[in-house]
Symmetry: C2
Subunit: 75 residues, 2 copies
């Protein structure tokens, strides 16, 4: 019980970040949201940012090999 409470608390989104857009950027953003039927703008921004971060970490993870990833056939 204690653990699950802790976990729930850990998963809560408590850190607010804010972005400022000028009217042109805002217009593009609104157009995008209406065209692709994005109801939850915060969700869209969050996933876009997290995707960018994860993909960057993913492509630049440290390896022991010169090649990006060793395979069974080519080490």
């Amino acid at each position: 019980m204690r653990r699950s409470l802790y976990r729930e608390d850990y998963m809560k989104r408590k850190n607010r970040l804010s972005v400022l857009l000028n009217s042109r950027e805002m217009k593009a953003f609104s157009l995008y949201c209406s065209r692709y039927r994005i109801k939850n703008r915060s969700e869209f921004m969050r996933t876009t940012i997290m995707k960018a971060i994860i993909s960057k970490f993913d492509e630049e993870h440290p390896t022991l090999w010169e090649e990006p990833s060793p395979t069974l056939f080519k080490q």
Copy 2:
């Protein structure tokens, strides 16, 4: 003079959007910012979001042709 004032006003970032992150997401975001020396987090989020929007619009722009883009050699 009048026009440039209008233009300046138009370029000002007045639209605030906010994103909420949980502590795990925040940790990843902070790590990313420290690793890639991002001083201006708002700038990073803005460019990431705008890039995503622009690239989506770019790849899905309407054409008159079936092919994605006609060339001189193949129409």
